[in-house]
């Protein structure tokens, strides 16, 4: 134990390091795919189109951001699909419908998401069950709660908020503002002690513990943040679609991991960031856009996404060899 602690690189090095080969691969990929998408569909560069693209990927972006925070600690969060649908369903049933007469419930929904995330953290920290299994079980629980609250798609969200979330006009369209807001929050959060500790326990838990980081508390916080971001994703989907649907979460679970990993976030913890995960999520969206623009058969984009995942991660594994075994 102590031997590995002594051999590990200092946690702080990785945060401020220059872009590694893995990161550069993502950036090149992002630019190339964006260029291809624009070349195929020049209208993609208009403000409205950019806003629409971002709007379509925002739920995944939020989920991938939460997944990144958890992956930085070396964990994984399967339950975000469940937390997302609970928030989504609550939005459609709890805010007073299209009139929005009970809007004050909105912060409560966010708090519920954070509480559910914190519960994940408790199970992982106190019952010492691996994150994969623990969040798999809580995912079933949260999904079940959502199904009880709203067995079939339906309900309604405040129409004012729907038009707010859907508006793609204006000087700076709404989805762009939301994305910029998320990135600004992350830019600020990076310098906070909590996020530094999250990186520290991800790169070397023993070293972090020895240098006084309360590993359990930090982990718990990471899962709570992930729960909160999943709730935001669910709320955002409820606003853009105007209704609630207890089945939307399942597809996002592994997709969020894929987005984070394509963005270069390490599954073993300590490496990556929300900015990279956002890029990963947008890359996944571009692939679908390009496939749609070229009128390709549906199987092509599935195959390309899978192939890309293998290529990007394979290249990274080849160059970095961070894990020898």
């Amino acid at each position: 134990m102590t031997v590995t602690a002594l051999r590990g690189k200092p946690a702080s090095v990785r945060i401020s390091s220059a872009p590694s080969i893995g990161t550069m691969v993502v950036m090149v990929l992002f630019v190339v795919l964006f260029a291809v998408a624009v070349a195929l569909q020049p209208s993609l560069l208009t403000r409205t189109q950019i806003a629409l693209t971002i709007q379509a990927s925002l739920p995944l972006i939020f989920l991938a951001a939460g997944q990144t925070i958890v992956m930085l600690t070396g964990g994984i969060d399967i339950s975000i699909g469940g937390i997302m649908v609970v928030a989504n369903v609550l939005c459609s049933t709890w805010l007073g419908g299209p009139s929005g007469s009970a809007m004050w419930h909105l912060p409560l929904i966010l708090l519920i998401g954070i509480a559910f995330g914190a519960f994940n953290g408790c199970v992982i920290v106190f019952a010492k069950i691996e994150p994969f299994i623990a969040t798999l079980a809580t995912w079933a629980i949260y999904d079940g709660i959502a199904l009880i609250l709203l067995p079939n798609p339906g309900g309604g969200t405040p129409s004012g908020l729907t038009s707010w979330a859907e508006s793609t006009g204006g000087i700076v369209p709404m989805p762009i503002l939301v994305l910029v807001g998320l990135l600004l929050v992350w830019w600020y959060a990076r310098s906070t002690g909590l996020v530094k500790r999250i990186y520290a326990i991800g790169s070397d838990p023993d070293r972090a513990r020895l240098s006084g980081v309360q590993v359990d508390r930090v982990k718990l916080a990471a899962y709570a943040i992930s729960g909160g971001l999943a709730a935001i994703a669910g709320i955002y989907v409820a606003f853009t679609t105007g209704t609630g649907d207890p089945t939307i979460g399942d597809g996002y679970i592994l997709l969020s991991v894929e987005a984070a990993v394509i963005g270069g976030v390490s599954l073993s913890g300590g490496y990556g960031g929300v900015g990279l995960a956002v890029m990963g999520a947008l890359i996944l969206t571009f692939i679908d856009d390009i496939a749609a623009a070229l009128l390709l058969a549906p199987w092509v984009s599935i195959a390309v996404t899978a192939g890309l995942l293998l290529t990007v991660v394979g290249i990274r594994a080849h160059f970095e060899r961070r894990e020898r075994i």
Partner: protein, 345 residues
């Protein structure tokens, strides 16, 4: 404490038998017993609510369902034991059924086409293995992406709809047929479970799998080819999943993409319920068998207790949490006792 036998007096046959039996009882894994107890508890609850639950017809049905999950969990158990994870399970299972239906439509005879499908499953497993071991992609991502490639293939051959996907009657017989009172699929499952547990406990290969999962670095230093052992588990996993897919398609009389989507996390949950640690090196196949029984009985509870789909899911989650916690605690107690015994000697 096993009774000590005097060296001078030769033990009688009965004494020797009793000693063997005692030793065997002492060696039974409490984790596995606990996992089976959980399944038994759920079964008793169901029977109290609805006596027909303990009827043979129902038990036979449960056994059939458990055997589908059983093969998926077998796949997962071996991979997890050696320190990996396989998320391609549902796609390879769907592949097993759809490819079989495809061969059937092209007029292939049933038995060879089933063999070919299982062989193709092994090939998919080998692709998983190449990425996860040779190219060192993290197993979670490698198997997820290979699952995506399989999905792309299935979408391409365009059998999304179940209509028209008929499977050969031999596959139906395999999944629904009975030998005497027992369903064929459950018998195959039982046979496989016995073989696998013997391989895991009595052969060099099995011990190496544990070694690789427990501490890959130590295993490598003691001359075990870690990558090769892991590669082997992925290959077997692919074949098992394809076979599970054949059984499933035989049971539902058709095959479509997504018919096995519940098995993605179901297999992992069954393995964890049986006491396997996802980091590898821990657990036995009998534990996974118990986990399959638990999850199958739980699903069977839905109509008995008149639960909604939502409350069943909540129950599912709670049982996984409680079961896995119990298995971990039992494992800890067992290990502590072993250490104490070794210290006492």
């Amino acid at each position: 404490m096993a009774p000590q036998v005097e060296t001078q007096v030769r033990p009688t046959q009965a004494e020797r038998f009793r000693e063997e039996l005692w030793r065997w009882i002492a060696s039974v894994d409490q984790v596995v017993v606990g996992a089976f107890a959980l399944a038994g508890l759920l079964f008793v609850i169901a029977t109290i609510k609805a006596p027909y639950f303990a009827g043979w017809a129902n038990i036979r049905n449960l056994l059939v369902f458990a055997s589908f999950l059983g093969f998926a969990a077998l796949a997962e158990a071996l991979v997890v034991l050696a320190g990996g994870i396989d998320l391609s399970v549902p796609w390879v299972m769907a592949f097993g059924g759809i490819q079989l239906a495809q061969f059937h439509a092209q007029g292939w005879p049933a038995i060879p086409s089933m063999v070919v499908v299982v062989l193709l499953g092994l090939v998919i497993g080998a692709i998983n293995g190449v990425f996860a071991t040779v190219l060192r992609v993290s197993p979670l991502i490698a198997t997820l992406a290979v699952g995506g490639l399989v999905e792309a293939y299935l979408v391409k051959i365009g059998t999304l709809q179940s209509a028209g996907n008929t499977v050969p009657s031999e596959a139906v017989h395999l999944a629904r047929g009975v030998v005497g009172p027992l369903p064929i699929s459950a018998l195959i499952w039982l046979g496989t479970a016995i073989v696998v547990s013997l391989v895991l406990t009595r052969t060099v290969l099995g011990r190496r799998m544990y070694a690789v999962g427990t501490n890959p670095r130590a295993a490598r230093l003691s001359g075990i080819r870690v990558g090769r052992i892991r590669f082997f588990t992925y290959v077997i996993s692919g074949g098992c999943c394809a076979f599970a897919g054949i059984l499933l398609s035989g049971y539902i009389l058709t095959a479509y993409l997504g018919d096995a989507s519940d098995y993605l996390f179901g297999a992992v949950a069954a393995v964890a319920l049986g006491g396997a640690a996802l980091l590898g090196g821990q657990g036995s196949y009998w534990g996974a068998v118990a986990g399959c029984c638990t999850l199958t009985v739980l699903t069977g509870l839905l109509p008995v207790l008149g639960l909604s789909a939502g409350s069943l899911k909540i129950g599912y989650g709670i049982v996984i949490l409680v079961g896995v916690y119990m298995a971990r605690s039992l494992h800890k107690i067992r290990r502590r006792r072993r250490v104490q015994e070794e210290l006492a000697q």
